[in-house]
């Protein structure tokens, strides 16, 4: 009973913060970590997060569109 509630609580926060594609959250954390590491070397690093967004957004959209097409093909066949 308690385990089930804890699981539901965890699932709610996972869905709220991480959402449908965990790779996006991992990508964002990596991009921020790389920015923090590069900034310590006094090298220009403002472009890292925008570059990550330019890769992550098409990636996640493409994966979702492909999954949607696969579902549509599966249901029509």
């Amino acid at each position: 009973m308690i385990a089930g509630k804890l699981k539901a609580f965890g699932a709610f926060w996972y869905d709220f913060i991480i959402g449908d594609d965990w790779r996006v959250a991992v990508g964002v954390v990596l991009a921020l970590a790389v920015t923090a590491a590069v900034s310590r070397a006094n090298v220009s690093c403002w472009w890292i997060v925008p570059a990550a967004v330019a890769l992550l957004l098409p990636g996640t959209v493409w994966r979702a569109a492909r999954a949607s097409r696969t579902r549509a093909t599966g249901s029509s066949s």
Partner: protein
């Protein structure tokens, strides 16, 4: 960020959440019991107020650099989720958010459920439907107000913007007693996703130690470029959607010929 930019960003984001919460409360009240739905709404508001009182000072106590990294990271993940859904909807890969349709489904589910009275709540189903809906959408409002407000050092303006959006949407819902289907919710979600992603990019990178060229003026480039990327992805999805629909309409032989 100027006060007006902060106000507009928070107002837009909170209006979208308020439209969704209003639809749920209206469904609970119309199909079941208004008193229970309103007790659910009030209870959720109390829980949200407690969350603001508990979280607000904790967030405000963080050093500004750590705050921007933490909040920027969350906003970026959150914004990319919104934008992804908005792009898929606009590209034809996900059903458009239709408040009329959602309202009808909620009504049907609410009418089918059994009535149970608990304490001062005459109808427990209407209470929980309303409570959960307002709490979930309200959590996003709290998150947006605290992150935008604290980062910009102006929580009161963020709070006023959220309050104005909620009062406007709730009043319209109460007057019409119908879901706000005419609100261009999908376009608003697209705009909010773009803003959350842009501010998340700006604050997250700054919190991680980056120096933006032009300081705050960099946002004037980040926001249009994020919007351009999103619009480009919508165009690519629409093209791909049309192509696969055309191929699906053809016979198998023509399809393999076209794919060659």
């Amino acid at each position: 960020m100027t006060v007006w930019a902060l106000f507009a960003s928070v107002f837009l984001a909170c209006a979208v959440e308020a439209v969704e919460a209003t639809t749920i409360v209206l469904a609970a009240g119309t199909a079941r019991d208004w008193r229970s739905a309103l007790i659910g709404l009030s209870s959720a508001v109390v829980v949200l107020a407690v969350a603001v009182v508990a979280l607000g000072p904790a967030i405000g106590a963080l050093p500004i650099q750590a705050l921007r990294l933490f909040v920027g990271g969350f906003l970026l993940v959150f914004g990319l989720q919104w934008l992804r859904k908005a792009i898929l909807r606009a590209g034809g890969y996900k059903a458009l958010h239709n408040e009329d349709e959602i309202f009808r489904k909620q009504l049907a589910a609410a009418r089918a459920a059994a009535t149970q009275s608990v304490g001062i709540v005459p109808d427990w189903y209407a209470f929980t439907l309303s409570f959960k809906g307002v709490l979930l959408e309200g959590l996003e409002v709290v998150f947006i107000v605290l992150t935008f407000g604290t980062n910009d050092g102006n929580v009161p303006v963020a709070g006023i913007a959220a309050g104005a959006a909620i009062i406007l949407v709730a009043s319209a819902g109460a007057l019409l007693r119908a879901p706000l289907a005419r609100v261009p919710e999908n376009a608003m979600k697209f705009a909010v996703g773009t803003l959350l992603t842009s501010f998340g990019t700006f604050w997250g990178a700054e919190g991680a130690g980056a120096q933006w060229p032009g300081s705050d003026a960099a946002l004037l480039a980040i926001i249009p470029l994020t919007a351009l990327l999103a619009v480009g992805l919508v165009a690519a999805l629409r093209f791909e959607h049309r192509r696969s629909s055309t191929l699906a309409a053809r016979g198998p032989a023509e399809r393999s010929e076209a794919l060659r």
